[in-house]
């Protein structure tokens, strides 16, 4: 090959690189190892991490994933294809995405779905940017404090530089749901969008109808932020209030995607047809080939960076395609009824969890309000210490809310999906009871010293 090129060694191929730069020798990259040794390293590390019985939710859930999902998702033809730029050579991915779009749009009762964004929080940011594009002049966006605090931070990072004002809407101290009345304070302001979570971060069910109508009264778009599993049971954004939410987004992880320490997941985004040109991300359409047969292709690319460059709706290019494969397989394997039962079982199990935990002295629910499958529990002791003690029993108890929501005291966000058994729930309660009572009788050393 060197001969064909007309050089005598490979180094000559790099001759255009200034000599003073050619010293890229790697020193910190370890030497290569064969797969056998790699297997040993990775197995050891995975075993170091072990397995915990998981009661953590907060937007990411341990659901059962049918074996077929990943056995098919990792087929080379899905796994190692690129974005379907050559439609005729990518009908597999394209038809699948079209089917995904159909399922998601229907699950959310909206007209249109895109082919995924990175994940839930950045999807929310993108929805806000889309709303601002729709509303042009209006640059205020109302976000409930009852939205996942990390989501609010991500939105801040992403929209910060675009002259958008993010306003926090408080939640009711007693109900834990967004203060609908607070929206009225922004009448007359140029509000581009109101974010409406369902359920909210505390698992509580918002009055989505009123919030959506109120948003529209402000002449703002209503952006639904939803858990897709919940949508199998709850009223979908497209049906909220009299006109429905305009855009809805969320984290797609619950649809067949493993926890995996945080990713890859996928964000979904649906909207009313009239906003289709404002949303970011790939979209697949059905069309015909020159013989009149149905086929699928990427479409409406004039929104995207590779065509519109600095005028694009977003800079997104690579999305989370393979997660869309997994989610589509997951939904197809469960069907509408299976999905509904999963949602119902999650809620059922969390109700059992609430019952067992609140039967313990010093444990109560923070809010007595209808909820779905996440719940805030209040302890009579600092959450972090209790969680550490429970973790020693192989149980991940939930999320400590005390630094993000100091107003809630020793608050713990927890949940029990369909993956948890009643035995596991009881085991959690037993340990919690023991830990709380032991600690209140006999606080650990550090606290003794402090006393």
């Amino acid at each position: 090959m060197l001969d064909a090129i007309g050089v005598s060694d490979i180094d000559q191929l790099f001759s255009e690189i200034p000599a003073e730069l050619q010293s890229g020798r790697l020193t910190n990259v370890p030497p290569g190892i064969p797969e056998m040794e790699l297997a040993r390293v990775m197995t050891a590390r995975s075993q170091q991490d072990g397995r915990y019985i998981n009661f953590i939710g907060g937007g990411v859930y341990e659901h059962h994933i049918p074996a077929a999902v990943w056995e098919l998702t990792t087929r080379g033809e899905f796994y190692t294809a690129y974005t379907p730029y050559q439609a005729e050579a990518s009908q597999g991915t394209l038809q699948l995405v079209y089917e995904f779009q159909t399922m998601m749009a229907s699950l959310l009762a909206l007209d249109i779905s895109n082919a995924s964004l990175y994940e839930g929080a950045s999807a929310l940011a993108e929805a806000i940017l889309a709303a601002v594009r729709v509303k042009k002049k209006a640059r205020t966006v109302l976000i409930p404090r009852a939205v996942n605090p990390v989501y609010r931070k991500v939105v801040e990072t992403i929209v910060r530089n675009q002259n958008i004002k993010l306003v926090e809407i408080p939640f009711s101290a007693t109900e834990g749901t967004t203060e609908v009345s607070a929206l009225r304070d922004y009448e007359g302001d140029a509000v581009a969008a109101v974010v409406v979570p369902q359920p909210n971060y505390f698992g509580l069910l918002e009055d989505v109808d009123t919030l959506t109508d109120s948003a529209h009264e402000l002449d703002a778009l209503a952006i639904g932020l939803v858990n897709p599993t919940a949508m199998a049971l709850l009223k979908p954004p497209g049906n909220w209030g009299s006109d429905g939410a305009d855009i809805a987004v969320g984290e797609g992880q619950p649809l067949g995607i493993p926890l995996s320490s945080g990713g890859p997941y996928m964000g979904f985004m649906c909207c009313k047809s009239k906003y289709v040109r404002q949303i970011p991300g790939r979209i697949v359409g059905r069309t015909r080939d020159d013989q009149g047969n149905d086929g699928f292709t990427l479409t409406l690319q004039a929104r995207e960076q590779h065509i519109r460059r600095s005028k694009a709706t977003s800079n997104i290019c690579t999305n989370q395609g393979l997660m869309v494969v997994a989610a589509t397989l997951y939904m197809s394997l469960l069907g509408p009824e299976g999905l509904r039962r999963v949602a119902a079982r999650c809620h059922h199990n969390t109700n059992i969890l609430v019952e067992k935990l609140t039967a313990i002295d010093g444990v109560k629910r923070c809010f007595e309000h209808p909820f779905f499958h996440d719940v805030v529990i209040q302890l009579d002791q600092p959450v972090a210490d209790v969680m550490r003690a429970i973790e020693a029993q192989g149980i991940s108890a939930g999320i400590d809310l005390s630094s993000e929501y100091p107003e809630l005291g020793n608050a713990l966000l927890t949940c029990a999906t369909e993956s948890r058994t009643v035995d596991e729930i009881e085991n959690y309660a037993t340990h919690l009871e023991r830990i709380l009572s032991r600690r209140s009788l006999d606080p650990p050393c550090a606290e003794k010293v402090a006393q």
Binding site: T27, G76, T83, Q86, K153, S261, R308, T318
Partner: protein, 482 residues
Amino acid sequence: MLIFEQSRAGCTNPSQAPDDDSDISDIPQYLLRDTPPNIPSVSELQTVRHYTRLSQKNFSIDTHFYPLGSCTMKYNPRACNKYAMLPEFLNRHPYSSVQTGQGFLACMFDLQEILQDITGMKAVSLSPLAGAQGEFTGVSMIRAYHDAKGDSERVEILVPDAAHGTNPATATMCGYQVREIPTLADGDVDLDALRQAVGPRTAGLMLTNPSTLGVFERHILEVAQVVHGAGGLLYYDGANLNAIMGKVKPGDMEFDVIHMNLHKTFSTPHGGGGPGAGPVGVNERLLPFLPIPYVIEDGGEYRWAVEQDCPRSIGRLSANMGNAGVLMRAYIYARLLGREGMRRVAEFATLNANYMMQCLKHNGIEMAYPTRRATHEFIATVKTLKEENGVSAMDVAKRLLDKGFHAPTVYFPLLVPECFLIEPTETESKEELDGFIKAFTDILDEAREDPEMVKNAPYTTPVRRLDEVRAARDMDLAWGDS
């Protein structure tokens, strides 16, 4: 046939559905959904068969040579998939304590170190979820840097005209104006034009090197000098890092910030569109602004650096910590190849590209930069063919599908008409390259003899040439809405 057309209401998979005895009576009726969604009710076999058959309609690395320029479509080692998917890794909740993830975090920490070495940067954060988010992160850091200095005049990002679309789109998302810098006929940046363009409005320059033209920017040190001299910062789009790993470090080229596309250089699978991972590296200057979380070692334990550790960080890009599973695959890849392997990647990627370029040139195909060395990719053009026979790059691309090859990237970069950006990658055999060279050459002959035939390609794919105009006009984006 669509999966929906196989649906039969009421069919549930007992293996996949919990029993129907859950109590949800505490949820008020008015909050419930009243009609089930249009998700198919099919058997497990129907699902498996439908999607297995669909998958077979794809070209992919595992089935075809796929020389998409700028995309680095190389072999994705199966070991990366297998060991990233060990059950303990898959089952760990992102919000569980770091004590439950020391094995995982060790991988992430090691990966940060590996990427630092390869890029020659001071620190790396793994959190951006793809190249474009890496760009957003980098340019946000540039902005944070200027803002921190109270330097609010700097409102422009310079971008070469050959740049990838994400570069200008990113600048806009960061609230910057975009100014294009022209490219010279030899593929290098027009230094004079650059000197003219820089000034107190210059926040920075985004550059890909090797550039998207398939050549190495020879005056990179002058470019850096000009931009830095004007008070701007230098952004490195690492999409083409594959060409120089172990040979040149972006840090040595004086870049201040860089993103990497691990789904290119580190061979994590493209998955039909994603996911990717776009870690960023920074030099000392931008270190305080690095996005969180990233992994630090703290008293013998790995943990996430968070807001409290990094008060000036630009913040978080996603609810969690990055595309962890992708990062694991990249880490495994890096361990398998190691330092010598990395260098060999760059060498063989470059060898393969130069070999193809020379052979195609030898067969009479026109090159955009015939006097330059190819890097890991190069540009051919069929503009003469288009003029003389009316056969476009798109037609040739479609005809390549018939010959069993995925087409290279076409019509990018925008400044070369009727172009093909061809990136063979290091994992393809000479036989495969020769097959492509022959096919491409044959197609140009076909195009001259029977242009209509080529213009109506492809013939052997599951569908024939698709009507994209109709797709955009009729907008059939979900089944059942038409």
